[in-house]
Amino acid sequence: MTLTTTDATLCLRPEGNLLASRAKELTATFLAELEGCEATTVELDLSEVGEVDSIGVNIVVGLFRECESRGLEYVVTVGDPHVHSLFTLFKLDQWFTVQAAEHA
């Protein structure tokens, strides 16, 4: 996973897809990054992610809940149109910002 931190934003960019088989690994990594985070916004950058299964959605929402409980703003960047349509179908954009990646 690539990690970028500016003063205000912690950007988490997982490599590979968000699938059930990677749930434990990704959840643990995300939670570890949130510990001691001094940014005010967390961006989950999925611009290179082509597949998110149902457990992957759980991971995205789980991270949202963690951010919410810590008072952090949460933004998800999506590149793949199918992933975007899945998030729209699930109305995730009503709970946090879902934005299209620049190259999408």
Binding site: A20, G50, S54, I55, H82, L89, K91
Partner: protein, 511 residues
């Protein structure tokens, strides 16, 4: 254990005996036949019993030659390996073999080692291809007659495809709330492992509790969401996508609420479709959501399609997204043959074709038709033509003699006369006396009414231009329609199809 099953088809007895011995020496189990037709029969028997891994076939043979045999085999089976044995074969024949996907060639006279080596390799090829196909097709299908035997009014068919090595949490249930109302629930639990299956069963239990307090789909979704959030741990923190439908058999309507699934689709008899119920968040993800419901009338001939998931059928291996191709397929299939079971099976098969590798999740398709005609459980249908009116009338009389119209009272007699006249008119006038045109009559008894559909391929005998028809009668459509309409309680004309309703007094249905 044998090293594969081989079918040897060779008309020359000397070559056959030699090849048979060589193949046996590889450890294979061998069946030998002396011509192509006998080979084909052995192959067909093997399909239903123990399929062959390899066919070794001569080309020039009596009754059915090797190329014809290969063509027949490939129509049925792309997996079995085929080794063609030729003797100075023409280029055309060899090309034909290649076009029909023969896997190998052997020239006569062949060296024993050559036959044995090719056979051993191709047995493995055939066996492996079969294993892979079976893995792709390991798809269990639960047909409606098993799942829904007790409640044909709820849905006609619920088919679930479970890919190889997958458990999945899809489930479908229906409840008889009272004489008039049916409730259906289609769910898809996040994940596709043993836990999702467990959660699915728990969720059905929660639904049992909820329907004690409400039957409105939107309210049910909200309460179910609350229940999931409250008992998050026991549901394994899984979220659930669901469609809840409340069917009113008297009003002929369906009220639908959707959470996280693609909206239900209403396919009308004319091939158009529309979404029913706007989707909201899945259940269990958030503390609140905007679950709504929508009520739609179910006209005769319509079909409601519900499907779980949407991942497999939505995208292809190149990343393209196809949000409607499953629905397009269902619509086209229904338009082509109208058979729900075939439609659902083909839809599942198509998702296998579309998926990039074996699909990883289960998929359930539920088909629910409006007032039904032509189904086995609630009605019977008749294809009739001008020359078969008598047979049709006899069939109608027999049908009307059965429950719920017997014993015959005045109203039942009216219904009998009306339907009889309807058929007579359609068959003798509606088809314009053209015996090639088909008139089809479908009857469907409901608790309080008899629904009749008459589909007439003919153009009808036109009503005289200066004739004045009462306003309440359908205008045009030939002589038959107004005559039929005066005896029916409601009449809907759709192109060449006439839909009639006859109300039946409760004392008749009760009897």
């Amino acid at each position: 254990m044998s090293k594969g099953r081989v079918l040897l088809v060779e008309d020359d007895p000397v070559t056959r005996r030699l090849a048979n011995g060589l193949l046996l020496s590889t450890g294979a189990e061998v069946e030998s036949r002396s011509d192509g037709l006998a080979g084909w029969e052995a192959y067909e028997r093997g399909l239903s019993d123990r399929p062959f891994d390899l066919i070794v076939s001569d080309i020039q043979m009596p009754r059915l030659n090797g190329i014809e045999l290969l063509a027949r085999v490939r129509e049925r089976d792309a997996e079995v390996a085929v080794l063609m044995v030729s003797c100075h074969e023409s280029v055309e024949n060899l090309r034909a073999c290649i076009r029909l996907h023969a896997d190998g060639f052997l020239d006569k006279p062949f060296h024993p080692r050559e036959l044995m080596a090719q056979a051993e390799g191709l047995v493995s090829v055939g066996r492996q291809r079969r294993i892979e196909r079976e893995a792709r097709d390991t798809i269990r299908t639960d047909h409606a007659e098993r799942m829904l035997a007790g409640c044909p009014d709820c849905a006609d068919l619920a088919v679930r495809g479970i890919p190889y090595m997958t458990v999945g949490g899809d489930a479908f249930r229906c409840w008889h709330l009272d004489e008039r109302h049916r409730l259906i629930l289609l769910t898809d639990v996040a994940g596709h492992d043993g836990a999702s299956s467990h959660v699915s069963a728990q969720f059905m239990g929660a639904m049992e509790l909820m329907i004690e307090s409400t039957r409105e789909p939107a309210a049910l979704l909200e309460r179910l969401n609350h229940h999931l959030r409250e008992h998050e741990q026991s549901f394994g923190r899984r979220f659930i996508c669901a469609t809840v439908g409340l069917r009113d058999l008297h009003a002929e309507t369906l009220t639908v609420g959707v959470a996280g699934m693609q909206p239900a689709q209403l396919l009308l008899a004319d091939g158009t479709r529309r979404a029913v119920g706007s989707t909201a968040s899945p259940l269990g993800l958030f503390d609140s959501g905007e679950w709504t419901q929508e009520t739609v009338p179910l006209p005769m001939g319509c079909t409601i399609v519900l499907a779980t998931d949407g991942v497999t059928e939505l995208r292809d291996g190149e990343g393209g997204v196809h949000p409607t191709r499953l629905l397009d397929l269902v619509r086209d299939e229904l338009g082509r043959h109208g058979d729900l079971e075939t439609t659902a099976d083909r839809a599942l098969a198509a998702t296998l074709e579309w998926s990039d590798g074996p699909p990883s999740d289960d998929l359930t398709i539920v088909l629910l038709s409006g007032p039904r005609v032509g189904s086995d459980d609630a009605s019977t249908c008749l294809g009739s033509s001008y020359g078969e009116v008598d047979r049709g009338i006899a069939w109608l009389e027999a049908w009307l003699a059965k429950e719920p119209l017997a014993p015959v009272d005045d109203r039942a007699r009216d219904v009998r006369a009306a339907v009889r006249e309807a058929l007579m008119n359609a068959a003798s006038h509606g088809n314009g006396f053209d015996s090639d045109k088909t008139v089809r009559l479908d009857l469907s008894p409901r608790p309080d009414r008899l629904l009749v559909r008459i589909s007439d391929e003919g153009e009808g005998v036109p009503w005289p231009r200066d004739a004045r028809l009462p306003d309440e009668l359908p205008q045009g459509g030939g002589l038959g329609q107004p005559l039929i309409a005066r005896l029916a309680d409601t009449v809907i004309a759709r192109g060449s199809t006439l839909e009639l309703t006859f109300l039946i007094p409760s004392e008749v249905t009760a009897s």
